[in-house]
Amino acid sequence: MADAMLSLRHLCKSYGALTVTDDVTLTIPKGEFHAIIGPNGAGKTTLIHQISGLIPSGSGHVLLEGEDVTRLPLPLRVRQGLVRSFQITSILPGFSVLENVALAVQARIGTSFRFFGRAAAEERLNAPARAALDEVGLADRAETRAGLLSHGEKRQLELAIALAAEPKVLLLDEPLAGTGPEESAVLIALLQRLKGRITILLIEHDMEAVFALADRVSVLVYGRIIATGTPAEVRDNVDVRVAYLGEEVT
């Protein structure tokens, strides 16, 4: 437990009588690539929202490196190193690709209460941004308006923005959603490269990708984690087969 990077303790969330997250407890050690799978409506995205601070938790705690961040709002969690991506691509369409990433660098280093000087010309911001773009393979699109990128490229940009924030823990909400086979291959290769370097919590529908990438997998059904283990263990778990993988495996 000493090297736990992210711990969830008895996390709950209800909307009226509907319990969306039901007593989720999970510990992710430093450097682990952890995936959460589950059928539609299992509460995966709600869980990510709670961990990232986009929505408040009903009860329970989120700990980052042992520190309780449950009460911190989203922007301050990001500054602590808990960074997320969005299921529905969330970029600044009117900004250049480079500026999208440079803003994440700007949030991380130095103050943004600086009223003079052209931010777009600051090499201190642009150089790390270019490095992040290089990492995701978008370097040659740096000057393009982000709104003009293809869907797959937008997903790459989303990752570059998250990386530029230098996360300790990266929360990825279905990074492969809506991508074609070629685009998803690019993204999977990218995630493979990140594996081990950053602690990652991934939510994903693409089972093949999950089983190929994850060190450990948790299965979420009706807001509850019903199993956690290596991909092989989870695949063989009877409960999981009944609850979720059933129709695929038989």
């Binding site: 990232s52 986009l54 709002p73 989203l74 922007p75 301050l76 990001v78 500054r79 960074v83 997320r84 969005f86 969330s90 970029i91 600044l92 369409p93 009117g94 900004f95 500026e99 803003l103 994440a104 700007q106 949030a107 991380r108 130095g110 103050t111 943004s112 209460f113 600086r114 009223f115 003079f116 000087g117 052209r118 931010a119 777009a120 600051e122 923005i161 924030a165």
Partner: protein, 315 residues
């Protein structure tokens, strides 16, 4: 690209700078007063464009800041304090203070609620001014003269006041221009495009939006200071909600989010008002449809129309 973009504001400022020379061949004091008024409102419109155009915050109470700035001049001078060295800092500080209080509350709301709450604060300022019986109440009050600078009547002559106003406009414009491309301005522009994304990168937007709201309010207070001196009169009419609406119309008419568009919009609005009201007392019957046409057909306001024409010419 850069040269083209900067050409229009330079042209505007050159026109303002040379206008008094042309005016000396005509009805000089009338023209000086009219264009001074245009420049004063241009400062207010530029400051509104900062939050409306760049921050996407539709403030429907912006005229209140003009009123606060103007009343600072009026109240101080009625007590015999007529020096700019005191009046201007007080006017700016009062506007900034009003902006901090109203902004801190308004910015907790979004969309229509933000419009309503800024309108409500604007009305509060208006009725507060109406209730100031000692300072003219409903009727307002006439100043005993323009502000001085270290005992010297530096803006007593209309032409001097005209150029002081022009300098203030250029300074306000330059400040805003620098602001919108700075790190701070980039955060504000980012929040306009996608606030959730900005929060997820690590920006607590409230702080930044409050800062831009205070900057805009303070600049508008400067316009109020000039307004009081221009008219040598202060009244609650400066902060009616209609006036706030007019400021929004100026920004939209000129073109949202370009700064010099707001200057053009203020000029077009006031000159049209002046010109049309000279033709008929029902000038709003012409002015109204004109605004509708601009909004419908010249997307991006007058600036948008100018840039489209240029684009066609260049291609």
């Amino acid at each position: 690209m850069m040269i083209r973009r900067e050409a229009l504001p330079l042209l505007l400022f050159a026109f303002f700078a040379l206008m008094p020379i042309a005016a000396s061949f005509g009805p000089e004091s009338y023209l000086l007063a009219l264009v001074t008024r245009v420049m004063v409102f241009a400062i207010a419109a530029v400051s509104l464009d900062l939050i409306l155009g760049y921050g996407a915050l539709v403030s429907f109470g912006h005229a209140a800041f003009m009123g606060v700035g103007a009343y600072a001049v009026g109240i101080l001078s009625s007590h015999g304090i007529k020096d700019t060295a005191i009046q201007l800092p007080v006017a700016l500080a009062a506007s900034a203070f009003f902006a901090v209080i109203t902004g801190a509350l308004s910015l907790r709301t979004k969309g229509v609620y933000f419009i309503m709450i800024t309108l409500a604060f604007g009305q509060m300022a208006f009725f507060l001014a109406v209730s100031l019986a000692a300072y003219g109440g409903d009727d307002g009050m006439t100043l005993s003269g323009r502000s001085q600078l270290f005992g010297f009547d530096f803006i007593k002559r209309d032409r001097a006041f005209y150029y002081v106003t022009l300098v203030a406009l250029i300074a306000a414009y330059a400040l805003c221009r620098s602001l919108v491309v700075s790190r701070f301005g980039r955060v504000i522009r980012g929040a306009r495009e996608n606030p959730q994304r900005m929060a997820a990168i690590g920006f607590p937007l409230f702080h930044y939006q409050l800062a831009i709201y205070v900057i805009a309010g303070t600049l508008c207070g400067l316009a109020g200071f000039l307004m009081a001196n221009q008219a040598e009169f202060v009244s609650p009419a400066y902060m009616t909600w209609q006036r706030s609406g007019e400021l929004i119309v100026m920004v939209l008419l000129g073109g949202l989010g370009s700064l010099h568009g707001a200057i053009l919009g203020a000029a077009a609005f006031l000159l049209l008002e002046e010109g049309l009201s000279g033709i008929t007392e029902h000038w709003k019957l012409i002015f109204g449809p004109f605004l509708v046409l601009v909004v419908l057909f010249a997307r991006g306001g007058l600036i948008g129309a100018v840039e489209r024409l240029r684009g066609k010419g260049g291609a």
